[in-house]
């Protein structure tokens, strides 16, 4: 039952990363987002991932982080499978092997691998920022950098709603099991989605009424119960992050040798192994997911 719950929310702790103000962390997450979209170089993306892992280690959030990745990563693997046979890449494509109706292309594997790296690096930094920041601090910091109040509120509420929904899902599933729910596959899990979403909608409706009755729409400056202090260390970190990112961006844009799409050749065995592993990985995930969800 606990396997179903994925906490994408703050993991309390007292590491250096926890103590840094949310602003540098958000900035870093944003910079990594920009960087990963500006390059397809597997080494740079890999380096970003390693850096993210260092952050996760320092923050000591491996367990919750891996729990999220255990769900996300297999889904990302489908990118390799799909890209290999239908690359999102300008032609010409270099075929590696043909298997029945499908042909695996060199560019496809490259594209799939880099896309997975891209998504992974972005996720690591975003998760590291969210998991080490109190939701209210996140709220206060976003407000500080000029995010409109209402938008900001929606974002933080959504983040807080996720763990609640996950808990509800578990509860509803246990209700169905206590009425002898049998069967396997998604058809069996599907009914529990209904009450969870109906519950969520009811909750949101009530929330909007209670917000209004507490003068949510009124004008005037909004304050937060928790205030975010930005120290010189934070400014220094933000400065470093900005410079680092700009430097990297400059290098990425000006150095054409960083485009390895035609030079990095995957040997056929490697390509097939990657393709097969990704596909099997995803299928195993689907099977395990169904099992976990249905386990008593």
């Amino acid at each position: 039952m606990r396997g179903v719950v994925i906490p994408i929310s703050m993991v309390p702790g007292n590491s250096v990363i926890h103590r840094i103000s949310p602003l540098p962390k958000l900035l870093l997450a944003g910079c990594v987002l920009v960087l990963s979209f500006s390059t397809r170089n597997p080494a740079i993306l890999g380096a970003l991932i390693v850096l993210g892992m260092v952050m996760v280690s320092v923050a000591n959030i491996w367990k919750p982080f891996l729990r999220v990745m255990a769900i996300l990563f297999p889904i990302l693997l489908t990118l390799i499978t799909l890209q290999s046979i239908a690359p999102a890449f300008p032609r010409p494509w270099t075929p590696i092997v043909s298997m029945g109706p499908f042909t695996i292309y060199q560019e496809g594997i490259y594209s799939g691998v880099t896309m997975v790296e891209r998504a992974t690096s972005m996720t690591i930094f975003a998760l590291a920022a969210i998991m080490t920041t109190h939701p209210s601090d996140l709220f206060a910091s976003l407000q500080k950098i000029g995010m409109p109040y209402v938008l900001n509120f929606i974002l933080t509420m959504t983040l807080q709603l996720i763990p609640i929904l996950q808990k509800e899902f578990t509860t509803v599933l246990s209700a169905q099991k206590s009425r002898g729910l049998k069967g396997t596959g998604f058809a069996a899990v599907l009914p529990s989605m209904v009450p969870v979403f109906v519950g969520a909608i009811e909750r949101v409706q009530q929330l909007s009424i209670s917000l209004e009755s507490r003068a949510f729409g009124s004008s005037g400056a909004k304050t937060s119960y928790r205030s975010v202090k930005v120290s010189w260390v934070d400014y220094l970190l933000m400065l470093l992050t900005t410079f680092g990112t700009c430097g990297l961006l400059y290098w990425i844009i000006t150095d054409p040798s960083l485009d390895w799409s035609r030079t990095l050749i995957f040997a056929p065995w490697l390509a097939i192994t990657l393709f097969t592993l990704a596909t099997i990985g995803f299928l195993i995930f689907v099977i395990i997911a169904i099992r976990v969800v249905l386990r008593a």
Binding site: S178, R179, V194, P195
Partner: protein, 283 residues
Amino acid sequence: MTNPVIECQNVWHIYGGSVTAVQDVSLKIYPGEIIGIIGQNGSGKTTLVKHFNGLLKPTKGKVLVNGRDTGPMRVQELSASVGYVFQNPNHQLFARTVEAELEFGPRNLGLPEDEVIDRREKAIEFFGLEPLRHSHPYRIGFPLRKLVGMASVYTMRPAVFILDEPTTGQDNVTTRIVYRLIHRLRDEGSTVLCVAHDMILLAEVVERMVVMRDSLLIADARPREVFSDRALMGSTHLLPPQITELTLRLKEQGKLPQVSLSVSESLDVFAPLFGGKSEGGQA
């Protein structure tokens, strides 16, 4: 003596390694008993009863249902003999119509179609759900939703029926249905466990009362004894029904021979005071 349907042997439940919700509880429940479980909010009542249909497994100790350890058993298996009506009906209902909701359990039990329909119809009649049979469970009001929750378990005819706060938030009409349900279950020979803060309900329907406080089982006795024990009641901030309190005080003043649990019972008890014969009465 018959064997207990449910037996707890030194059961502990600790949530997430830190919150102790049930501590060293030992308890035997025999077939046909009607038991009330009381205690303050957060005393561990829900946690305890969730062990009986396997939704929770003890952190330490053992729970036996019909003599079998629930440890390795699945909720689905246990659901045929132990029915649990959730405290919050929103967590329990998921079908598109009330009818489908009532059919869900018996279908999972693998009953033949005509039996499923028969049970559905009986439940609709008993709980007065006729006007709502095609409604979506989420479009009907909370009290009726709660009745649908009970009806959906009732159609499974479990030997043990667990009700978690069945009357909380219910009006007089739906409360009466809960009373009738418990009476009906008793007549059918089911074992009923009722978690409740509604002392009037319990005083009237249960024969045995289990009191919890801070995750401990602190008393297990007949309602009359529990309600008369001021130290016990006071220690967990529970109040007996007013009529019980009144007769208890009168008894302490030596004016009444015994404490009564309901209005109709009181009429009999009061009769000698007023020098007349009681006519009995309707609560």
